[in-house]
C-alpha cells in the first residue's frame, strides 16, 4: 500500500530543487536541434522543397528575396515510468513489499513531472505489459496513477526483454524512462530490455529495489524454499558457507546489471525496501545523472 506520508513529503521539495531535478533530465539548456517550435532563431535562404509556411514574408517584402525562418525545437519532455509488478515484487520481510517501495518511487517521479506540467506515462509489467497510463499531464492523471498502483494485482514472471519490445513503440518523443524492478531475472533478458529502452528514450534511469532479507538470506538449517515467481520448491540444508556463496552470486548479478547500465549510459540505483523512501528518492534525484549513482 502506498504511504500517503510520502506524498506529503514530496510537497516539501522546493521549487529550485524540483527544477534542478527536472532540468537534469529535460535539459534546462537550449536544444541545438532545430525543428518545429515557437521561438524563431534565425533565417536562411529558401531552397525548393522548404515548407512555404515558414517563409518570412515580411523579409521578402523588404528584400524581395525568399527567406525561411528557423525555430528551436519544442522542449517538452515525457517521462515513462515502468514498474515491475511480477510475483517476486510481492516479497517483503518488513512492513512493506518491494512493490510498495517501487510504487512510491514511481509516484515520486510522477508527482514531480506533474508539478512541472509535463507528461508522464506509467506502466506495470511482469512478463508482459499489464496496466498502462498513456502520457498525459495534469493532477487527475497523477491520481489515476496512484489508483493504478494501489489496485495493482501482482503476478507472473518477469521478462523485461519482452516487455521492452512492446513498450518501446510507445516512446515517440524525447523522454526520460524510469525502470523500477528487482531485476531478478536472467541477465540476458535485462540486457536486451535495457538496450531497447535506452535506444528509444533520451535518458534511462534504472532503479533496483530489493528486500534486505533476500540480500543476506539470514537463515540456517533445513529449509523448504518456494520461488514466488515460478512456485518451484527446493528443500535445502542452508549453511553459512552456502549463504556466503549465495551472497557472492547475488552481488555478481547486481554488478552485471550495473555493467549493462554503464554500457547503455543509464543511471543505476540499487536500494532496499526497508530504507526511508523519501531519503532514497531524494538521493536518486540528486545523485543520478552527472552525479553519482548508488
Amino acid at each position: 500500500m502506498i504511504d500517503l506520508e510520502f506524498i506529503k513529503q514530496l510537497k516539501t521539495l522546493d521549487l529550485l530543487a524540483k527544477k534542478k531535478i527536472i532540468s537534469s533530465y529535460a535539459g534546462g539548456q537550449r536544444s541545438l536541434r532545430q525543428g518545429r517550435g515557437i521561438e524563431p532563431v534565425d533565417h536562411r535562404e529558401y531552397f525548393p522543397g522548404d515548407d512555404l509556411r515558414f517563409v518570412d514574408w515580411k523579409v521578402y517584402g523588404k528584400t524581395e528575396k525568399l527567406f525561411v525562418k528557423r525555430f528551436e525545437e519544442e522542449k517538452s519532455l515525457t517521462t515513462h515510468i515502468l514498474v515491475d509488478a511480477s510475483n517476486s515484487m510481492k516479497f517483503g520481510s518488513g512492513k512493506r513489499t518491494k512493490f510498495d517501495f517501487a510504487s512510491m518511487l514511481a509516484l515520486g517521479f510522477a508527482y514531480l513531472v506533474t508539478r512541472e506540467n509535463e507528461k508522464f506515462a506509467l506502466s506495470t509489467y511482469s512478463n508482459q505489459l499489464k496496466d498502462t497510463l498513456q502520457p498525459k499531464r495534469g493532477r487527475s492523471h497523477f491520481f489515476k496513477a496512484v489508483d493504478l498502483l494501489n489496485s495493482q494485482e501482482l503476478g507472473g514472471l518477469t521478462n523485461l526483454e519482452h516487455v521492452s519490445e512492446k513498450y518501446a513503440n510507445m516512446i515517440r518523443s524525447r523522454s526520460l524512462c524510469v525502470v523500477i524492478s528487482d531485476f531478478l531475472e536472467p541477465i540476458d533478458s535485462i540486457k536486451k530490455g535495457l538496450f531497447r529502452l535506452a535506444k528509444k528514450s533520451k535518458n534511462l534511469l534504472v532503479i533496483q529495489v530489493l528486500d534486505p532479507m533476500e540480500k543476506i538470506l539470514n537463515w540456517q538449517g533445513d529449509i523448504k524454499l518456494y520461488d514466488l515467481e515460478t512456485n518451484e520448491v527446493k528443500k535445502i540444508f542452508f549453511t553459512p558457507a552456502m549463504r556466503r556463496e549465495y551472497a557472492v552470486r547475488f552481488i555478481a548479478h547486481l554488478e552485471r546489471v550495473r555493467g549493462v547500465c554503464d554500457d547503455v549510459d543509464a543511471d543505476f540505483f540499487s536500494t532496499t525496501s526497508n530504507e526511508p523512501v523519501f531519503d532514497i528518492f531524494f538521493q536518486i534525484t540528486h545523485l543520478t545523472k552527472r552525479g553519482h549513482a548508488k
Binding site: 528487482d182 537463515w219 533445513d222 529449509i223 518456494y226 520461488d227 553459512p240
Partner: protein
C-alpha cells in the same frame, strides 16, 4: 577369532539408540518464500555430486556419528585376536661350506646349490644374528667370524670350490669353537655333498658340538652322478725318456672306453685307449722321449662326466741333475755298484783303485767307497775324505771286510757307525724309518748272510738294522753327509745287488744328496698338500689360476702348476683322491640328520594382537571427518 578384554564396554552400544532417535526426531524444515531461487538453483547444480551422494547416504552426519561412536565403544572393549607367529630368537650361526673337489660335480654344480642354501640360511636370519662361515677343505679355515648378514652374503658370493679333499669334521669343530661361548641360540649348518671326508668323523664332531649346546644340521646338496677320474699318478724318467703313469677308476655302472692323452710342455706326445670296467681301475702308462731339462706333463682323459677336476693330472718331470761321482773300489771287486750308478741319469762316474787315491776330492759331488784291501788303506785316506765331507761333500761307505782293519783313529769322526765285528748271522734287515732313501726299496726282502756288525755313533740315524746292527745309517759331518751301507754287493754277503730295489736305492740316495739343489723333496703333490717352503719362510706363490698368494704355509688347493717367485722351484698338484672322485657315494652321517636342501625351521607361538590402537585412531579419524564436515557446511 576376535575376543574382548573389556566385553562389558559393549553395552555402551546402547548409546547409539538415543542418537538415532534424536536424528529421527528432527523438526520439519522451515518453509520460506523467496523472490527467486535462481542463485540457489545454480548452487544446487554445482553440488549435484554431493546431493547424489546424499541420496545414497541419507544423512552422512548420522552415519559418521554412528561409526565414530561404534569405533570408540569397540576401542574401549579392547578387542584382540590370537595368531600363531614365527618366534624370533637371536642366533649365532656357523655355516660350514664344503669347498672340496667333489662339490664341482653336477650342473648346476653342487657348490652352486650349497651357495643357494647358504644364502637362504643368511636371508632367514635376523639383523641381530651373528654369522660365521667355515670353509671345509682338508684343513678347514674361518672365512667370516661372527659377521653380519651383509658380510656373509658378500663372502658367499665370492666363494669358489677348490680341488682339495674335505675335512667336514674338523670344520664342524672349528665352527663349534667359534660360537661355543655365545649365550644365544647356537647352530651349525653343514652344506656338503657328503661324498667323503678326511680326518674327524662328522658324526663325532656333531656330538662334540652338541655337548656344547650347539645343534648341527647336515644339509646335503647335489645328487649322485657317473664319474671317471684319475685317482693316482706317478711320473719320472725312464730309459726312453719321460713317463707319466695314471690310475683311472670308473665309478659308473657301465664300461667306459677312455682315451688318456699325455701332453709334454703343451705338445700332445702320447695317447692310450682302454676300456675300464665299472668299479675298476686301470693303469694308463704314457711316455715320450724328452730332454734332460724340466718338463710339464699333463695327463688328461677325453670324456665328459660329473666331475671334471679329476680328469686331468699334472706332473713336473724335473731336470736331470748332473752328479760327479768317484767310485773307490779294488780293481777286481764287484761291479754291481758301478753298474747301478752308471744307469742313473746325470751321473758322471770316475773310478779310483786303491792304493791310488786322489789328493783332492773337491771335483766330485759324491764319493762312494766300495772297498779296499787292508794293505791298500793308506794312512790319511779317511782324514782326507773327512775334510771333503766337512766342506759339503757326500760320502757313501759300504761295509766291506777290510773296514774292520782300519785303525779307529783313521775313521774316527767320519763313519756314522763303529764297526764291532764281522757277523754271519743270516736274516732280513728291518726298516726303522720311511726315509726317502728307502722309498720303494724292499729292504725287508734282502737276505743278509754276512755283514759288519756296527753300532751307530752319536748323531747317527739308523734307517735299517739287523739284530741291532746298523745296516743303513746316515749322519751329518760338517756341511756334508755320510751314508753307511752295510750291505755289500757280493753273493756271499747278500742278494741286495740282485734285487730290482738295488738301482732304486742308489737313485734315492743320489736324489737325497741332491735335494739341497731344490727346496723340496718332490715337485709333484696331491691337492691339499702344503707347498714345501722352508720353516717360517714366506714366499709368493703363483697358483694355477694366476693368483699370487703370499705366506709361510700355502695349501695347494687347485690342480695345475705352481711357481714360487724368485725361485726356480715349481710344483704340480692333482686331485688323486679316490673318495673325492666318487661322487655317487654318500658317507654315513646318519640319514635322519641329513636334509635335502635347507628348509627354514619355524618355531611358532601364540601371539596376542591388540586392535585398540587401530580402532582408537579410526575413531579419531571419524571425529576429524565429522569436524571437517561441520566446518565444510559452515556449522562451525
Amino acid at each position: 577369532m576376535i575376543e574382548f578384554a573389556n566385553p562389558w564396554a559393549l553395552y555402551a552400544f546402547a548409546v547409539l539408540i538415543p542418537v538415532i532417535i534424536l536424528y529421527m526426531l528432527r523438526p520439519k524444515p522451515k518453509e520460506l518464500h523467496v523472490p527467486s531461487l535462481m542463485f540457489i538453483v545454480g548452487m544446487e547444480q554445482r553440488r549435484h555430486f554431493r546431493s547424489f551422494l546424499r541420496k545414497i547416504i541419507r544423512d552422512p552426519l548420522l552415519i559418521l556419528q554412528i561409526i565414530a561412536l561404534s569405533l570408540l565403544v569397540l576401542a574401549i572393549a579392547d578387542p584382540f585376536y590370537t595368531t600363531m607367529e614365527v618366534k624370533r630368537i637371536n642366533e649365532n650361526v656357523v655355516i660350514v661350506m664344503d669347498i672340496s673337489a667333489s662339490m664341482q660335480a653336477g650342473n648346476p654344480t653342487r657348490f652352486e646349490q650349497a651357495k643357494e642354501n647358504a644364502r637362504s640360511i643368511v636371508d632367514d636370519l635376523g639383523e641381530g644374528d651373528k654369522i660365521s662361515i667355515v670353509l671345509a677343505e682338508n684343513i678347514p679355515y674361518v672365512a667370516l667370524k661372527e659377521g653380519t648378514k651383509l658380510e656373509a652374503n658378500s663372502i658367499i658370493e665370492n666363494l669358489f670350490p677348490k680341488a682339495t679333499p674335505t675335512g667336514i669334521g674338523g670344520a664342524i669343530l672349528l665352527g663349534a669353537d667359534l660360537i661355543k661361548d655365545s649365550t644365544v641360540e647356537k647352530k651349525i649348518y653343514v652344506l656338503s655333498d657328503f661324498s667323503s671326508y678326511e680326518g674327524i668323523d662328522p658324526r663325532a664332531a656333531q656330538k662334540t658340538a652338541f655337548a656344547n649346546s650347539i645343534s648341527v644340521s647336515f644339509i646335503k646338496v647335489g645328487s649322485a652322478g657317473d664319474n671317471v677320474g684319475i685317482i693316482s699318478l706317478r711320473s719320472g724318467r725312464s730309459q726312453i725318456g719321460c713317463f707319466i703313469e695314471i690310475l683311472v677308476k670308473n665309478y659308473a655302472s657301465e664300461n667306459k672306453t677312455i682315451v688318456a692323452n699325455l701332453m709334454l710342455d703343451g705338445q700332445n706326445v702320447d695317447s692310450l685307449e682302454k676300456v675300464v670296467k665299472p668299479g675298476s681301475a686301470e693303469v694308463f702308462p704314457l711316455s715320450s722321449q724328452c730332454s734332460g731339462l724340466e718338463h710339464d706333463a699333463v695327463a688328461s682323459l677325453s670324456l665328459k662326466d660329473a666331475l671334471s677336476v679329476d680328469n686331468t693330472a699334472y706332473a713336473i718331470i724335473p731336470a736331470i741333475i748332473e752328479t760327479d761321482i768317484l767310485l773307490i773300489r779294488e780293481r777286481d771287486s764287484e761291479l754291481y755298484v758301478k753298474y747301478a750308478l752308471e744307469s742313473l741319469p746325470g751321473v758322471n762316474l770316475d773310478e779310483s783303485y786303491p792304493p791310488i787315491y786322489p789328493n783332492d776330492y773337491s771335483g766330485y759331488d759324491v764319493v762312494v767307497f766300495q772297498n779296499a784291501k787292508s794293505q791298500n788303506v793308506l794312512a790319511g785316506t779317511f782324514p782326507t775324505l773327512k775334510r771333503f765331507v766337512e766342506r759339503g761333500g757326500k760320502l757313501v761307505i759300504l761295509g766291506f771286510e777290510g773296514l774292520m782293519d782300519v785303525p779307529p783313529a783313521e775313521i774316527n769322526g767320519i763313519l756314522p757307525i763303529t764297526p764291532i765285528s764281522m757277523s754271519s748271522y743270516e736274516g732280513n734287515p728291518s726298516r726303522l724309518f720311511d726315509h726317502q732313501i728307502l722309498k720303494d726299496v724292499e729292504i725287508e726282502d734282502v737276505l743278509l748272510k754276512k755283514y759288519v756288525y756296527a753300532d751307530p755313533n752319536n748323531g747317527t740315524i739308523t734307517l735299517a738294522d739287523i739284530s741291532g746292527s746298523s745296516i743303513i745309517a746316515i749322519a751329518d759331518v760338517g756341511m756334508g753327509k755320510v751314508v753307511y751301507v752295510g750291505i755289500y754287493p757280493n753273493g756271499n754277503w747278500s742278494d741286495f745287488h740282485l734285487k730290482p730295489s738295488f738301482p732304486v736305492f742308489w737313485n734315492n740316495l743320489l736324489a737325497w744328496f741332491n735335494k739341497d739343489k731344490s727346496i723340496g723333496e718332490s715337485n709333484n703333490f696331491k691337492t691339499g698338500d702344503r707347498m714345501p717352503l722352508g720353516v717360517n719362510q714366506s714366499a709368493r706363490v703363483k697358483t694355477p689360476s694366476g693368483e699370487i698368494i703370499e705366506g709361510t704355509d700355502i695349501i695347494l688347493d687347485e690342480v695345475g702348476f705352481y711357481s714360487i717367485e724368485g725361485s726356480s722351484f715349481r710344483g704340480a698338484a692333482s686331485l688323486q683322491n679316490e673318495e673325492e672322485s666318487d661322487v655317487s657315494y654318500t658317507i654315513d652321517v646318519g640319514s635322519a640328520d641329513v636334509s635335502e636342501g635347507y628348509k627354514k625351521e619355524n618355531v611358532e607361538e601364540k601371539t596376542k594382537k591388540e586392535l585398540f590402537i587401530f580402532l582408537a585412531v579410526a575413531a579419531l579419524v571419524m571425529i576429524a571427518i565429522e569436524w571437517f564436515y561441520y566446518k565444510g557446511r559452515g556449522s562451525l
